[in-house]
C-alpha cells in the first residue's frame, strides 16, 4: 500500500497534477493529485523523508530528464514544481518539528520601481519545487524593506529581479545597503531579469547572475554542495 502511494505520488509529480482536479499529460490519470497523495502518505505513516526522496524528488528527476530531452517544456516543469511546492507546504511543519532542514532559505523580490514579476514568480515556483524554502516578497519592494527581511528572516540566498534598465540600479543599492548594515556576508545575492547580465552582476558585486530559473537551481545547488 505504502509503495503504491509513493509510486502514484511520483507519477503525479511527473504529470504535474497538484490536486485531484488538475489535468496531467496522460488524460487517463485521474484520482488524487500530489497534495492528496502527500496527505494520504502521512496518514499511512510514511515518513516525510521517504515522501520527499522517493516520491517528490524522484518524480522531479524524471521531469528534469524529460525537459532536457525536449519532451517536456517549461509549463510542464512549472506544473510539477508547483505540485512539489504544495506538497512541501504540507510537510514543512513536520520537517520543522523533527529538525529536518530544507535545502536552504531563499528570499526573492522585484526591486523598487519595478512591478514586473513573471520571471520572479517562475523562479520562485521552480526553487520551491526543487526543495528550497521560498519567501516571495513581491514587487516594487523598497531597499530598506529588503534589508529588513534579510536581517529578520535570515535567508541563505537573496534573489533580486528587474526587467527595466531604469530599475536595475536598485540592485546595486540593495547590495550597498546590505554592506552598510553588515549583512552582505550573511547572504548570497543572485540577480536576474531581462536588463541584467553576468557583467552587471560583477559590476555591482552580486554573487551570481542567473539567466533563468533553471540556472538559479544550478547555482543554489552548487552553493549547497560547496557548503556540504
Amino acid at each position: 500500500m505504502s509503495e503504491d502511494i509513493i509510486t502514484l505520488l511520483k507519477e503525479n509529480v511527473i504529470q504535474g497534477r497538484k490536486t485531484q482536479d488538475d489535468e496531467g499529460i496522460d488524460e487517463e490519470l485521474t484520482g488524487p493529485g500530489v497534495v492528496e497523495l502527500t496527505q494520504s502518505a502521512l496518514d499511512h505513516d510514511i515518513s516525510p523523508a521517504v515522501i520527499i526522496k522517493q516520491g517528490l524528488t524522484a518524480g522531479m528527476q524524471v521531469v528534469g530528464e524529460k525537459f532536457s530531452t525536449r519532451e517536456y517544456f517549461i509549463p510542464d516543469m512549472l506544473a510539477s514544481a508547483e505540485a512539489v511546492g504544495a506538497a512541501m507546504d504540507i510537510l514543512k511543519p513536520l520537517l520543522e518539528a523533527s529538525n529536518v532542514e530544507t535545502k536552504g532559505k531563499f528570499a526573492i523580490v522585484t526591486v523598487k520601481g519595478d512591478i514586473h514579476d513573471i520571471g520572479k514568480n517562475i523562479v520562485a515556483i521552480l526553487l520551491k519545487g526543487a526543495g528550497y524554502e521560498v519567501n516571495d516578497l513581491g514587487t516594487d519592494v523598497p531597499t530598506e524593506k529588503i534589508v529588513e527581511i534579510v536581517r529578520e528572516y535570515k535567508p541563505d540566498y537573496l534573489g533580486l529581479s528587474a526587467l527595466l534598465t531604469t530599475t536595475m540600479v536598485a540592485m546595486g543599492e540593495v547590495i550597498e545597503a546590505l554592506k552598510e548594515k553588515g549583512l552582505r556576508d550573511k547572504v548570497k545575492v543572485l540577480i536576474g531579469g531581462a536588463a541584467v547580465s553576468n557583467e552587471y552582476a560583477k559590476e555591482i558585486g552580486a554573487d551570481a547572475y542567473c539567466v533563468d530559473g533553471f540556472e538559479a537551481i544550478r547555482v543554489l545547488d552548487a552553493c549547497q554542495e560547496a557548503k556540504a
Binding site: 504535474g16 489535468e23 499529460i25 509549463p75 506544473a79 508547483e82 514568480n121 515556483i125
Partner: protein, 513 residues
C-alpha cells in the same frame, strides 16, 4: 476524403468588381481586335468553323492565320468549361477537388528547371582564432538528372504542406532523349509520390505512352477518368497573342483525351506585355481565354484550369523579375479573374530572383507566398525549392519552404472564438486573478499538446548561431531516409513491359537491369 487544402474565408482581392469587368471587356476587345496570330492549322480551322473570323496572314515564313474570336464564342466556352476540376492521385486521399468559385488553396511544387543545386558544408577556420571553426554551406550547380527528379518527388511526398507535385527538374541524363523524356519524367514522379502529378509534355508522340502508363497504374481508362492521377500544363499561347504550332497541337490532343489541363500564359510586363497593370492584365486574360475557348471547341467539357504566370521585366536586364512586387499583384489579379469566370485557377508564387538559398530568397518567397495564398488561388504553384527565376532547383530550399508554408497554414486557421471558449476563458481569468502569482502557465499544457499552438521555427539554432541550412539539411536527409510507397511490383512489371523507353534503373524491383 481528398486533401482539404485551406479555405480562405475572406480572400484578399485588389481589384473592385468594376475593375474586373473592365479587364474582362478589354480582353474581349483584344480577342476580336487585334485577335491572335495562330500558327496551328487545326486550331485555326476549328475557330473558323465555329464562327471566328480567320484569315491567312501573308507573307509569312510559316503558315499562320489571324484569328478574331467573337465574344459569344468565348462566353459559350466559359459556360461549358467545368467549374469543378478533380486532380486525382495514386493515393486517393491525396486527390484535389478544385471549385472555381471557392477561394481555396493547395500548395504545389514546380516548375521544371535545368539546374540542380547540391549543397555541401565545408569547414572554415577563423584566421584570428584557429580554434574557432564554422561550417558554411556551399552550393554547387549541375545539370538535373532523372535520379534527382526521383529524389525530389521522394522528399516532396513527405513534405506535409505540399498538396501536389509538378516536376521540379529537367532530366538531362545522357540516355534521356526527346522520345523517352516524357515517360521517364512521369514514371520517376509517379513512382516516388502518391500525390497528384502535373507536367508539361516534351513530345506529342509520347502522350499516349504517358496516358497508358497512368491507366496501368489506376487500373484502366474509366478509372483514370474517375481518378486522373496526371494532368498537363501547356503554354499554347506565346505572348503577345500567338498560338504556337506544336504546343497548340499537344494541347488539342490532350483536350481530346479529356484529361485535366492548365492553359497557361506567361507574359512579361514591359517586353511581351504592356508595362502597366491594366495592360498586362487585359492581355494575359485574353490569352488564357483564347486557350480555354479552344479547349471547349476541341472537346466540350474538357477539365481546364485558368493558368497564370505573369511577371514583370527587370529594368537592368529585361529578364523576368519574379521577385518584383508587381508580379505578386498581377498574380492576385489573375486569381480574381479566374474566380470571376468560376474556373479553377493555377497561380504562381514563391519564385525568386536570387540564385541561392539565403535572406533574399526568403524575403522574396515569403512576400509572394503569403499574399498570393491569401487571395485563395486554388492550385498554387508556389515553387518549392525554385531559385534564379525558373532556372535552379534546390532540395534544401524546398525543405526550407515547407517550414514557411507550415507557418502560413497555421496562420490561416479560423479564429476559435465561441461560447465554449469564452466561458472557459472567463473561468480561467477568475481563477488566475485569485492566485498570488497571477500566471496562466498551468493552462498552457493541454493546449500545447493539442496542436493548437504554432510550432517554433524548426531550424532555429542555439544562441546566436545561425544553423538554419545545416538543420534543414538534416531534415532533408531524414525525409530521404523515410520509405516511399512505390508503384507495386506487378504494375511496375506491366509498365516496363508495355511502355517503351523507361530506363531500367528506375525499376525499384530491379527487374530487367
Amino acid at each position: 476524403m481528398p486533401r482539404e487544402g485551406i479555405l480562405i474565408d475572406t480572400p484578399f482581392e485588389r481589384m473592385t468588381k468594376e475593375q474586373v469587368e473592365k479587364i474582362h471587356q478589354a480582353s474581349m476587345e483584344i480577342l476580336s481586335d487585334p485577335g491572335l496570330i495562330c500558327f496551328n492549322q487545326r486550331a485555326a480551322e476549328m475557330f473558323n468553323s465555329n464562327g471566328a473570323q480567320v484569315t491567312p496572314v501573308s507573307p509569312s515564313d510559316h503558315p499562320c492565320w489571324l484569328v478574331k474570336i467573337p465574344e459569344k464564342l468565348v462566353l459559350d466556352a466559359l459556360d461549358n468549361a467545368p467549374k469543378t476540376v478533380k486532380l486525382g492521385a495514386r493515393n486517393p486521399h491525396n486527390s484535389l477537388i478544385m471549385k472555381g468559385e471557392e477561394p481555396r488553396v493547395f500548395f504545389i511544387t514546380g516548375s521544371e528547371t535545368n539546374i540542380w543545386l547540391d549543397v555541401e558544408f565545408p569547414t572554415y577556420i577563423k584566421k584570428s582564432d584557429p580554434d574557432t571553426e564554422i561550417m558554411v554551406p556551399e552550393f554547387k550547380p549541375r545539370r538535373g538528372t532523372v535520379a534527382d527528379l526521383c529524389q525530389s518527388a521522394h522528399v516532396c511526398e513527405h513534405l506535409e504542406t505540399l498538396d501536389g507535385y509538378i516536376r521540379t527538374v529537367n532530366i538531362q541524363d545522357k540516355d534521356i532523349t526527346e522520345d523517352n523524356k516524357d515517360v521517364n519524367k512521369f514514371f520517376a514522379s509517379l513512382n516516388n509520390t502518391t500525390k497528384h502529378v502535373m507536367s508539361g509534355l516534351t513530345s506529342l508522340s509520347q502522350l499516349d505512352n504517358v496516358v497508358n502508363m497512368a491507366k496501368l497504374i489506376v487500373g484502366g481508362e474509366e478509372e483514370l477518368k474517375a481518378n486522373p492521377i496526371i494532368s498537363f500544363i501547356t503554354c499554347l499561347v506565346k505572348s503577345p497573342l500567338q498560338f504556337v504550332d506544336d504546343t497548340t497541337e499537344t494541347f488539342i490532343e490532350i483536350c481530346r483525351r479529356a484529361l485535366p489541363i492548365v492553359v497557361s500564359s506567361s507574359p512579361q510586363a514591359g517586353s511581351t506585355a504592356p508595362i502597366k497593370e491594366a495592360g498586362i492584365m487585359a492581355q494575359i486574360n485574353a490569352e488564357v481565354l483564347a486557350g480555354i475557348t479552344l479547349s471547349q471547341l476541341v472537346n466540350n467539357g474538357t477539365p481546364v484550369i485558368y493558368g497564370s504566370v505573369p511577371v514583370r521585366a527587370r529594368m537592368d536586364t529585361l529578364g523576368d523579375s519574379y521577385g518584383a512586387v508587381e508580379t505578386s499583384q498581377y498574380n492576385i489579379d489573375c486569381v480574381q479573374m479566374a474566380r470571376f469566370y468560376k474556373l479553377p485557377n493555377y497561380s504562381t508564387s514563391g519564385v525568386c530572383d536570387t540564385k541561392t538559398p539565403g535572406t533574399q530568397a526568403s524575403v522574396e518567397r515569403l512576400f509572394s507566398d503569403i499574399l498570393i495564398t491569401l487571395s485563395g488561388p486554388q492550385y498554387l504553384h508556389c515553387a518549392y525549392g525554385l531559385l534564379d527565376c525558373n532556372s535552379v532547383f534546390c532540395l534544401l530550399q524546398a525543405v526550407l519552404d515547407d517550414a514557411h508554408f507550415q507557418m502560413i497554414r497555421f496562420f490561416l486557421r479560423p479564429p476559435r472564438i465561441n461560447e465554449t471558449e469564452i466561458a472557459e476563458t472567463l473561468k480561467q481569468i477568475r481563477e488566475v486573478a485569485a492566485t498570488p502569482q497571477k500566471l496562466y502557465i498551468s493552462y498552457i499544457r493541454r493546449v500545447m499538446r493539442s496542436g493548437e499552438l504554432s510550432a517554433p521555427y524548426p531550424f532555429e539554432g542555439d544562441g546566436e548561431a545561425d544553423n538554419v541550412f545545416a538543420l534543414a539539411y538534416q531534415k532533408m536527409q531524414q525525409l530521404l531516409s523515410k520509405p516511399v510507397e512505390h508503384i507495386d511490383q506487378a504494375t511496375t512489371s506491366k509498365i516496363f513491359r508495355e511502355i517503351p523507353g523507361i530506363l531500367p534503373r528506375l525499376n525499384v524491383y530491379e527487374e530487367g537491369r
